[in-house]
Each structure stands twice: as structure tokens, then as C-alpha cells.
């Protein structure tokens, strides 16, 4: 048994906070607004969509601290142990002058009603620190998780382009004080298990993955909280009790990505943002998909492991991972098993996860150079929307142009992420021609019976699912003119 402590510790702006009394479902936003009366951070939706509650959370990564924008509304207080929380109140200089981000927004008329503005400031602050001279694409990506209803974003874009003319990140207090902050965070993160509360309100922060395994084995009913981009909503929207809960976001061992023998292993705690950094060069289509999952705040919090473990039929990462032939490692105590990812999804709301078991890693084979791998997400709004239909394709042709293998998986078409086995069969061994494609289309009716809901009708889902196969063909065979819409010029 490891040593335990009964408090969480983190930095909030310039203060060190020690909390002994907190509930697992207590959100950072409520803590800021109600307990600390830091009311610059706003609640707009309480579901991680509007970004009015954006704050920065600095976390240790090796010897560095990484500041990322997160949605305080769905970020649990308990997940902040060993972190540095920076809110809008920390930006103004002691002499009352404005921060470069704030100056730029003021000068470019970037606020109207002002309610979204603190969140926009924080998102642009995070962007400017990592990329002081962003392209419009970079800015738009940084703002995918921030809704503004007044300005139409144009003046915010003008401001964002100009921030560095008001100051450089090197002279920002968070840069100047970096060493001291790192030292303090290292002192806080002492490698002990944290246990707080008794009975109904219990929570734990494991010291290590082994410790997590122990906790879950001892109490299989424990709610596992990683990025809380889903569990957060259980609390804010449905007022569900999540105790006892274990918070695994701080486990560095789960945040590793590695590659061996053409297989990338992604730890269950790797955030979308970190996965993007690793994957965007190696599997570009997957990188492009990740850029359209949530906003930056959600990508900084949410994990691929969580996206798999929660078993949603409209999770964005399972279909492409299934198409790539990914496998999943589940762990219980000291025993592990590895299964094909598609076998994990049994039925709606049911996954192949035993009590006390947890998702440890997903293993993704790199597509072979000759394999055409594509993934396309269809949603009402291009960015930060939940999928209506998502199709993923890994198709390899023989030298003679016949289909040697085809793995095709969809989201939004069934009660789970699901392979299009009949379609695959209809393609296999046939020449890669438009005739083969057209002949394969009826097989979709065997594979899928989609539903109608507020995102799309069954008819539209079926039509676009089929058309994505047509798109794949057109992309590989050459059509007249572009086959997809491009918002940004391709970067050479």
C-alpha cells in the first residue's frame, strides 16, 4: 500500500490551494465562482461547448509545464491535483494595464456583450503562448470551442492576428515565473495516492497505474474519470452521483504514445491534443479528424481511451481505429487481455469490460503505404459538432487493381461503432471501378439500419454513408474538379 494523503493541492493564479473537503462531482467552475468569487469565468452551457468558462490549466510534463485551455464547467476540482489553474483575473498587470491579448481585443472591437469574452481571451492566450504568429487556420482551430453570438468573430480574428504586436510571450508572467511554478508543482506532485471523503462522497487519485488497478479491483463500481468531457455532463446535466470516483487524468504512465513494429500504442490517458501531435504526421487522415472533435478545450481534456471506453455509437475515434485494425488492452489487477477493438462494442451501452477492469491502451497499426486510408465526418456544423455519420476506410488494392482488402467502419449508423462487413465483402476481390462501387452500395442496407434523430434523418445517413464510398473512389480514381471542400489551402 502506497502512502496516502487526504487533500488535493494546486496553484490558482498566484495562490497555493489545499483542499480537504471536496466532493467528486464538484466542478472547477463552481469552485471559482461560488467559493473564490472569481466571477470573470462564466457559465454559458455547462457542457463544454460554448467556452465561456475557459481557463488555463498548467500540468507538468516531464520537466516542463504545459498550459492548456480547458472548460472549467466540466472539469472536476479533484482532477487538478498538482496543476496550475490560471483564470482571467490573473491577466491584468498589477499596474492595471491590460495583457497583450486583452489590448488586442479592445483595440479591434472584439467584444460586444462581453459574456463570451473572458473565455475567448483565455483561448487566445493559450494560442499566443504556444504560437505567437498564428495563421487564420490556427486561430480558427483555437476558437473552435468558443461561441460568440454577437460579433460574427471577424473582429476577434483581427485581434488574434495582432496580439504579438502588443507583446511577446517571452515576457509574459507565466513565462518569467515558469521555473518557480515548475518547482512548486513538482513539490505538490509527491507521488502519493490521494483519498478524500467517506461513504457516498469518496474519491481517490491513484499514485500509479498499478495503484489504479488496485483501487478498481477493490471497488469495481468506482467511476473512472479521465478527461471528464463525458462524465462531466453526467453531473452538470443529469445530476448523477459519480462517487466513488477515481481520477486518472494525472497518471503520466497512461499519457504515453509509442511506436513499435509499425504499431502505435496510445495510452488510455492520452488527450486528443497529444494524440494529434503524434498522429498528424504519421496518419494524417486521423489527425484531420481529431481537429474536428470538440474544441481545443475538449481536445485538451478528452482522451481517445475515454472515447472508446464510454462506448458511444457516435464517438469519433472508434470507426477509424477499427478500420485500421486496432486492438485494445484491458487490465484488471495484474492481468491484461488484448482484443480487437470492434469486439469491445457489444451493444448500445454495453461493452466488453468486466467489473474492475479498465482500458489501458489502444494499439493502432500504421496503414501500409499502399493502403488508402480515409476518414470523413459528416455533421450539421463543420467544427465542434457531434457526428451524424462518420465513415472510415482502409482499402488496399492488388497490383492488378482489384481490392485485396477493405476494412470499413462507421459511426452514427448503428447502436455501436460498426464495421460494414457486407460492403467489405462486396468489394473484396473485385476490380476498383465505379461499377464495383455501385454494385456494393446495396450491401449498406444489410449492414446498417440507421435511425432518425435531431442530427440527421435515417435517409440522409444512409445516403451519405454510401456517398462516402463514392467519394473514396473518386478521390482515388480522379474526378473532374475537387471532390471535397477545403477551407484551408493545403500546406506544402
Amino acid at each position: 500500500m502506497t502512502a496516502t494523503r487526504n487533500e488535493i493541492r494546486f496553484l490558482l493564479n498566484g495562490l497555493k490551494i489545499v483542499l480537504r473537503d471536496l466532493r467528486p462531482g464538484q466542478t472547477l467552475l463552481d469552485y471559482l465562482r461560488l467559493n473564490r468569487r472569481l466571477t470573470g469565468t462564466k457559465e454559458g452551457c455547462a457542457e463544454g461547448d460554448c467556452g465561456a468558462c475557459t481557463v488555463l490549466v498548467g500540468r507538468l510534463s516531464g520537466d516542463a509545464v504545459i498550459y492548456e485551455g480547458v472548460d472549467a464547467c466540466i472539469r472536476f476540482l479533484a482532477s487538478l491535483d498538482g496543476c496550475h489553474v490560471v483564470t482571467i483575473e490573473h491577466l491584468k498587470r498589477p499596474d492595471g494595464s491590460l495583457h497583450p491579448v486583452q489590448q488586442a481585443l479592445v483595440h479591434h472591437h472584439g467584444s460586444q456583450c462581453g459574456f463570451c469574452t473572458p473565455g475567448i481571451v483565455m483561448s487566445l492566450y493559450a494560442l499566443w503562448m504556444r504560437n505567437p504568429r498564428p495563421s487564420d487556420k490556427d486561430i480558427e482551430k483555437a476558437l473552435q470551442g468558443n461561441l460568440c453570438r454577437c460579433t460574427g468573430y471577424e473582429p476577434i480574428m483581427r485581434a488574434a492576428r495582432a496580439i504579438s504586436s502588443y507583446g511577446e510571450p517571452a515576457s509574459d508572467p507565466l513565462a518569467l515565473e515558469r521555473a518557480a511554478i515548475i518547482a512548486e508543482l513538482k513539490r505538490i506532485k509527491d507521488g502519493t495516492r490521494v483519498e478524500i471523503g467517506t461513504g457516498q462522497d469518496r474519491l481517490a487519485i491513484p499514485a500509479s497505474v498499478d495503484d489504479l488497478a488496485d483501487i478498481l479491483e477493490a471497488e469495481p463500481d468506482t467511476t473512472i474519470v479521465s478527461g471528464s468531457t463525458d462524465v462531466g455532463l453526467w453531473v452538470t446535466k443529469f445530476m448523477r452521483e459519480i462517487a466513488p470516483a477515481v481520477f486518472i487524468g494525472g497518471l503520466d504512465e497512461l499519457r504515453t504514445v509509442s511506436q513499435e513494429d509499425g504499431v502505435i500504442t496510445i495510452g488510455a490517458g492520452v488527450s486528443y491534443s497529444d494524440a494529434f501531435s503524434y498522429l498528424s504526421d504519421r496518419i494524417p487522415a486521423l489527425g484531420q479528424l481529431i481537429e474536428r472533435i470538440g474544441g481545443d478545450q475538449v481536445r485538451n481534456m478528452g482522451t481517445i481511451g475515454g472515447n472508446i471506453a464510454n462506448g458511444s455509437p457516435i464517438g469519433d475515434t472508434p470507426p477509424p481505429l477499427i478500420a485500421l485494425g486496432a486492438t485494445l488492452t484491458l487490465r484488471k489487477g495484474q492481468s491484461r487481455r488484448t482484443i480487437p477493438l470492434e469486439d469491445f462494442f457489444i451493444a448500445y451501452g454495453r461493452q466488453d469490460r468486466q467489473p474492475g477492469e479498465f482500458v489501458e491502451a489502444v494499439h493502432v497499426p500504421l496503414p501500409a503505404p499502399e493502403t488508402r486510408f480515409a476518414v470523413w465526418k459528416i455533421s450539421k456544423r463543420r467544427d465542434e459538432d457531434i457526428t451524424a455519420v462518420l465513415g472510415a476506410f482502409a482499402v488496399t488494392l492488388d497490383a492488378d487493381g482489384t481490392v485485396a482488402s477493405a476494412r470499413i467502419a462507421y459511426g452514427g449508423m448503428a447502436a455501436t461503432p460498426k464495421r460494414a462487413l457486407a460492403v467489405e465483402a462486396a468489394l473484396h476481390g473485385r476490380p476498383w471501378t465505379i461499377e464495383t462501387i455501385e454494385q456494393a452500395l446495396p450491401a449498406y442496407e444489410q449492414d446498417f439500419t440507421p435511425i432518425s434523430d435531431m442530427r440527421a434523418s435515417a435517409e440522409y445517413r444512409m445516403m451519405t454513408a454510401k456517398n462516402l464510398l463514392r467519394r473514396l473512389y473518386l478521390e482515388t480514381s480522379g474526378a473532374s474538379g475537387p471532390v471535397t471542400l477545403q477551407r484551408y489551402e493545403a500546406v506544402a
Binding site: E140, K380, G481
Partner: protein
């Protein structure tokens, strides 16, 4: 906040007068998070929190209601239902008495408030709400417009008919005739700050309510009615809203009334803030419409007669549906002259939340119908829709009478549209697009240029009045108050600019203060784009009264003729000497001159006879035009806005930077309405799109790739409005209709522009794809 700089008594120009690009007065506070919204105010000691219990059926009777578990829940202090309203259980804003605060026996929409819990914390109140046991007897519900009885539909308010000329005859005689139907969706306001009220009980009957409202006077009246007290007992205050867009014109009443009743009942301050889902479920939205059109025209595309019916989903009560559907008819012409016209409204009762004001107030839906008619004609005569538009524009001296018999006297649409056509390079781009489409099998481009003519004034004539209160303190600093509310649109700074200009003092000598019913009474809603027109004039009037007294004083004190008293920047020239403004004020004070004034304004010229459908409801019109180019993926219906060019006029702008923000923001909000913002109710009448995860307003990455916005700098208001400026809040919203028509144009290309796509709104990727498929199928036949 930074300390204001000392006044410069020798400058040639004040800082922040009219026609300057002053930033929003709260910009510093917005970016630092120091701007205080109601939920940010320090709560008075003992503040309780209320939460609403909502119905779970769309229509039926409450058979039994058991709130005992709610009452027994931890932290609960009180539970309120209809029987606990001491005054009238009604918040109908238009006197229809059809909108209870809490449902009594009949439930009329899914999400209707039935009770409220008051508890020590918001979480306790919210949790307790879930413990209510309500038994309903469900009855059939009309959820959609299509569900209304086609012969004898139930209406929430009296319909309107506009008629000019003999439509039957003109339609019958027209060489060509088309009829059709169009569906246009509603829209949630999605103000970032949700509804909220904080009520603080006072002595006697008094209560002060901090309400996020565009209409403090109405909140005052509703709270007074609910409490059964005179209006003088109720003070309503609002410094700023985190967005309104019409969604806080009447919809704040419910929250204020419940908070006030709970505060008086418990004797403690009570705050009521619903979460986003409840806010979206329980408050009204933009009306969706079903528009039937029948148009007669000639082979050249000249409109000869139009017969229109606008049916709107109003929800379970009238709210503002009467004036909204009226305004739809007032804009059924957009910028076009109809030689013969008949337009009817049908404000339909449905078992859905009561729809309400939203930027444009029915005008956008009216115009969307007009533009569909134009499009139909263009396809029928195989001409560019822009050509048909221009052919049918109102004339400047003839062909200039509207369907409501008002003559259009200030028409500048010809100049605006030809200016935009040139600056947007419309003709060349149309050619380039045709070429692109010919060589592109999947991605298709489309372009459209559409005009906007929008009538300015409340159509209820008596709302066109405003008051202001101006104090000059003995140090020469000025306190400004007026009846308008600040929701982000920059009204406060514009009115302050007017006052600074009037006194010729720097803007930071003018203190902007929160709107409160205690300072300026009987105000109208800050709505109908009228904020600066009305309140700017009222504030100018107040300032002028004080100025006149100062002039009279100076004439007497210094024995100079009137024309020798001149207000220069931060000083007054009296005869040969220049006296710093504060010094003159001090002298005036010592001479016992009144340095405070209540200003007033009422819009001239307007009148309206609704029974006859005739009058002059609008003081003037605001004009604009937009050209939008899109690209569409015909495999999925996905699209992208490639380029937008806008030429809009705001008369002689009070603040071009603020106006530009209104144009850009209004346009994007309009694009959201017509593209990705889709309200979906299920068959049970439950709104399924009640949060940003399911209801998709535009993001930064939905902006046009190229966005050129210009103010028509040559424009000025023909009427003597405040410094000859024009209203800007609503008109730019309708520029977005160009985006719908650009999508339609791209869709039409799959059938060689031979078939009108009849693309309904919102044109989600799904609707676009379905239109593509239909056109392909029809073209292939």
C-alpha cells in the same frame, strides 16, 4: 478602471463625439472579466436560489400534483405553484391573459413551468425539483404548423391582411403564374448569458429586481401584477445583458416574476437562473413559418400580382406573435414593388413554447418569402435572379407604394445594389462560377446578391417614445441615464457620444449608468433597432435643456448676445473669454441654475390603422445589400461560405466601428439561422435541440473565407433622426438571405439552372443534399 485623463481646455475637438470609432464603453471590463453580469453580483446575505419545475408533456391536464418530497428535500425553504402567486398568475405581454407564470390545470407545452423550488443553494433547488410527482392526463397536441387545422386553425391573436389593387384579377390576367410553398425554420437566441433575475425584498411592498431584460418597464409591470402591488413598489435595474437579440424582450418576465414572488414570500433575496437546457426549452424563439405564394408575372419577369399567406408557429400564447407576424407581412415586399398584392398572416396556436421577438421580428421571414418569389420567376424566365430583383425594385418617384400603402420616400436600393455589384465583381464572378461548375463534377459553386429594405419604428405607434435623465454635477461631470438597455450593441456608448457632442465635453466626463425604472419611467423595450434613434434623441433633448439654461445664464451673467455663447471643446466661449466647462457649471450652480433635466422624444410622422391595413408605420427605411458565394459538396450536402461582400447604410453613422460590428455580427447570426441552426421537436413535443451540443450556431470557422463589409459613406437619413444616423440592430441580419440563395444557386447547377431548387431553411447539409438529389432526379426524367 483607468482614471479619466484631465480635460484639455484648448483642444479643437472633443474625444468621443458623434461619428467617431469609439470602442464599447465596457470593452476593458469585458476583456478583464470585470464587467458585472447579474450572476456575478455579490449576493446579499441570505440569498436563496429558485429553480423551475417544468412539465413533461406537451398538452394535457394536471390530474394530481404531489410536491411533498420536494418540500422535504434538503435545503428547501419554499415551494411555489400557481396558488402562491399573490396577484395575477399571468405574464402576457400583450394583454391576452393567456400566459400563466405557473400552469394551473392545463399544460400547454413540454417544458411549461408548473412550480418553483426555493432553496439555500441553487444545486439544492435543482435537485429538489426532480422529486416532484405530477400525474397528467395527456391530450392530443399540435406540435407543428403542419398539424394545424387547415380550414379553421386555432389562432393566438388576430391575423392581419394587407391588400392593394385587385389581386384576383391581376393574377388571372398575368401571362405566367407560379404557386408554391416555403418552409423557414425558427431560431434560438443563444444569448451567451442565459435568463436570470435577482430579487431583493425591501420594506413595505417594495422589491428591487435585477433582471437581464431588454424591457425593464415591462418586467416592472409584470412583477407588480404578479405581486398585486402598484408599479411604484417595484424597481427593475439592468446594467448590461450578455446578449439579448429579442430573447429578453418579454422572456425575462417569467424569471423576474418568480424571483420577486419568492423574495416577498420568504423575505430573503432570491436568485433564479435556469441552466441552458431549461432556458432553451422554456423560453420562446424566432417563429418558424410556412409561406404560401402565388405570383403572376410577365415573360420579362416583371411581377404583376402576388398573393401570400404567412402561417407562423406561435406556440401556446400570443406573446408578441401579433406584431411579429404583422412585421412579416410588412416585409413581404422586401425591396420590390407589387402592382397588386394581398398578404395574410396566420398566427397559429401550437403546443410548443410561445415564440417571441428575435432580431428582425418577423421581417426576415417576410423577406425570405419575397426572395423565393423572385427566385421562382427567375427560373421560370431563365434569367439571373439579380436581373429579376433589379427589374422589380421600388421606383424612386413612382412604383413606390408598399402593400400597406406607405410611400417609400427614401429609396436608395438602386445605388446600393449597383455599387455592390461593381465592388463585388458580380458579373465576372458569375461567369467564373459557371466555368468552374462545368469542370467540377462534385463540388459546385453558387452566388447570389440580395437586397434589404427594412422598416424602422415599432409598428405599435405608442412604443415610439423614450426618456432620458441627465445630471451635470458641480465639477462638470455628467451622469447619463435613459430607458434603453445595453445588450452588447453599443447603445450606451452611442448615447454617451450624443451627450458629449451636445455639451462639447470629452466622453470620459460622461458617466454611463445602469438602466432603471426608478430614473426613467414607462420606457419601451430596447428593440426594433430603435435604441439609439429613440434614446439618443431623448438624451440630446435633456442635454439641450440644460445647455439652454446655461446659455441663458451666461447671457445674463456676462451680458452678451445669445450667438456669442458657443460651446467649444471642454469650454464655453462667452463673448471674448473662454470658460472651462466645469467653471461655467460651478458658476451656474452658484447662481442656482437647475443642472438636471429629463429629456423626452417621440417619433414624428408615424401612424398605422391595422383594421384598414393602411398607414405610415415606419419613420424611414434602412437599406443594405449582400453578395455571397458558396461551394457545395453534392455528395454530402456540406458547404462553405467562400466570400461575402456587403454594402450597408446606417445613415451618418454615430459610431462606424460599432455599426460595422452590428453588420458583421448580424450577418453571421443570419447565416446561422438559414443554415446550421435547426430546432427539432420530437413527436411528443419535446425540444431535442436544447443545448449547444445539439443546436449549432456559427463558429469562427464558419465565417466567410473572404468578408468585405463597407458602410455606404455617402448615405444620410432623409429624416431628422439623431445626427441623421440610421438604425442598425436588425437590418444586417437579413443580408444573410444571400447565403441561402447562393446555396440554392449552387444546387441549381446540378440541373443546369432549369429547375428552382425550392431550398427551404435552415439549409442544413441534409436539406442541401436532398435538394441536389431531387433536382438530379427531376432533370434526369
Amino acid at each position: 478602471m483607468n482614471k479619466p485623463a484631465a480635460s484639455d481646455f484648448s483642444s479643437t475637438k472633443i474625444t468621443g463625439g458623434v461619428a467617431t470609432d469609439l470602442r464599447h464603453d465596457s470593452a476593458h471590463k469585458h476583456v478583464t472579466g470585470e464587467a458585472v453580469y447579474i450572476d456575478d453580483m455579490p449576493e446579499p446575505a441570505g440569498t436563496l436560489h429558485a429553480y423551475l419545475g417544468l412539465s413533461a408533456i406537451a398538452h394535457g391536464t394536471i390530474r394530481a400534483i404531489d410536491l411533498s418530497q420536494v418540500e422535504a428535500a434538503p435545503g428547501v425553504v419554499a415551494v411555489l405553484a400557481a396558488r402562491d402567486i399573490p396577484g395575477e398568475n399571468d405574464i402576457s405581454s400583450t394583454g391576452h391573459h393567456d400566459e400563466p407564470i405557473f400552469a394551473e390545470t392545463e399544460v400547454q407545452f413540454f417544458g411549461q413551468p408548473i412550480f418553483a423550488v426555493v432553496a439555500e443553494t441553487r444545486e439544492a433547488a435543482r435537485r429538489a425539483c426532480r422529486l416532484a410527482k405530477i400525474e397528467y392526463e395527456e391530450r392530443p397536441a399540435i406540435i407543428d404548423i403542419a398539424g394545424a387545422d387547415p380550414q379553421n386553425p386555432r389562432l393566438v391573436t388576430k391575423p392581419l391582411k394587407l391588400e392593394r389593387g385587385d389581386v384576383e384579377k391581376a393574377l388571372g390576367a398575368a401571362p405566367r403564374r407560379i404557386n408554391g410553398q416555403m418552409r423557414v425554420g425558427g431560431q434560438d437566441h443563444f444569448y451567451l448569458e442565459g435568463q436570470i433575475a435577482l430579487a431583493v425584498p425591501g420594506e413595505d411592498l417594495d422589491v428591487t429586481v435585477h433582471s437581464s431584460t431588454q424591457h425593464p418597464s415591462e418586467v416592472q409591470h409584470m412583477v407588480a401584477h404578479a405581486l398585486g402591488v402598484p408599479s411604484h413598489a417595484v424597481t427593475v435595474e439592468v446594467r448590461r445583458m450578455g446578449g439579448g437579440f429579442g430573447g429578453k424582450e418579454t422572456q425575462a418576465n417569467l424569471f423576474a416574476a418568480v424571483a420577486a414572488v419568492a423574495a416577498k414570500r420568504t423575505g430573503r433575496p432570491v436568485k433564479l437562473r435556469p441552466d441552458r437546457d431549461d432556458d432553451m426549452i422554456a423560453t420562446g424563439k424566432r417563429h418558424d413559418f410556412l409561406i404560401d405564394y402565388d405570383v403572376g408575372f410577365d415573360d420579362q419577369g416583371n411581377i404583376l400580382a402576388v398573393d401570400l399567406r404567412y402561417a407562423a408557429r406561435c406556440g401556446f400564447s400570443a406573446d408578441l406573435s401579433g406584431p411579429v407576424t404583422d412585421r412579416a407581412l410588412f416585409h413581404c415586399d422586401n425591396a420590390y414593388f407589387y402592382p397588386a398584392v394581398r398578404a395574410l398572416s396566420a398566427p397559429l396556436y401550437t403546443n410548443t413554447v410561445s415564440n417571441t421577438a428575435f432580431r428582425g421580428f418577423g421581417g426576415p421571414q417576410g423577406m425570405v418569402g419575397a426572395e423565393r418569389v423572385i427566385e421562382e420567376i427567375a427560373f421560370a424566365v431563365r434569367k439571373d435572379p439579380l436581373e429579376i430583383r433589379k427589374k422589380n425594385f421600388y421606383g424612386e418617384t413612382e412604383r413606390n407604394v408598399t402593400p400597406y400603402h406607405q410611400t417609400v420616400e427614401d429609396n436608395i436600393i438602386h445605388r446600393l445594389v449597383s455599387g455592390l455589384e461593381e465592388s463585388a465583381d458580380y458579373a465576372a464572378r458569375r461567369g467564373a462560377i459557371a466555368e468552374f461548375n462545368a469542370g467540377s463534377a462534385i463540388v459546385k459553386r453558387g452566388i447570389a446578391l440580395t437586397p434589404v429594405k427594412f422598416g424602422i419604428s415599432f409598428t405599435a405607434t405608442h412604443f415610439n417614445q423614450a426618456g432620458a435623465l441627465v445630471h451635470v454635477y458641480t465639477d462638470g461631470s455628467v451622469h447619463l441615464n435613459h430607458g434603453g438597455t445595453e445588450m452588447g450593441q453599443g447603445l450606451y456608448v452611442k448615447v454617451a457620444q450624443v451627450v458629449a457632442e451636445e455639451f462639447q465635453i470629452d466622453i470620459d466626463r460622461v458617466k454611463i449608468t445602469a438602466t432603471t425604472t426608478g430614473k426613467v419611467p414607462n420606457t419601451s423595450a430596447t428593440a426594433a433597432s430603435s435604441g439609439s434613434d429613440l434614446n439618443g434623441m431623448a438624451a440630446q433633448n435633456a442635454a439641450r435643456q440644460i445647455k439652454d439654461r446655461l446659455i441663458d445664464f451666461a447671457i445674463g451673467r456676462y451680458d452678451v448676445p445669445r450667438e456669442q455663447v458657443v460651446f467649444l471643446p471642454n469650454r464655453v466661449r462667452v463673448g471674448n473669454q473662454e470658460i472651462p466647462f466645469p467653471d461655467l457649471i460651478r458658476q451656474a450652480y452658484e447662481a442656482r441654475i437647475q443642472l438636471s433635466a429629463a429629456g423626452f422624444y417621440k417619433t414624428p410622422k408615424i401612424h398605422w390603422d391595422r383594421e384598414k391595413g393602411r398607414g405610415h408605420p415606419f419613420y424611414y427605411f434602412a437599406y443594405g445589400a449582400a453578395c455571397t458565394e458558396v461551394s457545395v459538396d453534392t455528395l454530402t450536402g456540406e458547404y462553405m461560405v467562400e466570400r461575402v461582400d456587403i454594402l450597408h447604410e446606417t445613415g451618418r453613422s454615430l459610431n462606424p466601428a460599432i455599426d460595422l460590428g452590428q453588420i458583421e455580427g448580424g450577418f453571421i447570426q443570419g447565416v446561422g439561422w438559414l443554415t446550421t441552426e435547426e430546432l427539432v421537436w420530437d413527436e411528443k413535443g419535446m425540444l431535442r435541440t436544447h443545448a449547444p451540443s445539439t443546436y449549432k450556431i456559427p463558429l469562427a470557422s464558419d465565417r466567410p473565407k473572404i468578408f468585405n463589409v463597407k458602410l455606404a459613406d455617402w448615405a444620410e437619413n432623409a429624416e431628422p433622426t439623431i445626427h441623421r444616423s440610421k438604425a442598425v440592430g436588425e437590418p444586417p441580419f437579413m443580408l444573410a438571405i444571400s447565403a441561402l440563395h447562393a446555396l440554392s444557386d449552387a444546387v441549381a447547377s446540378v440541373a443546369d439552372h432549369r429547375i428552382c431548387p425550392r431550398l427551404d431553411a435552415p439549409a442544413t447539409p441534409e436539406r442541401v443534399l436532398m435538394a441536389v438529389e431531387r433536382l438530379k432526379a427531376e432533370a434526369g426524367r
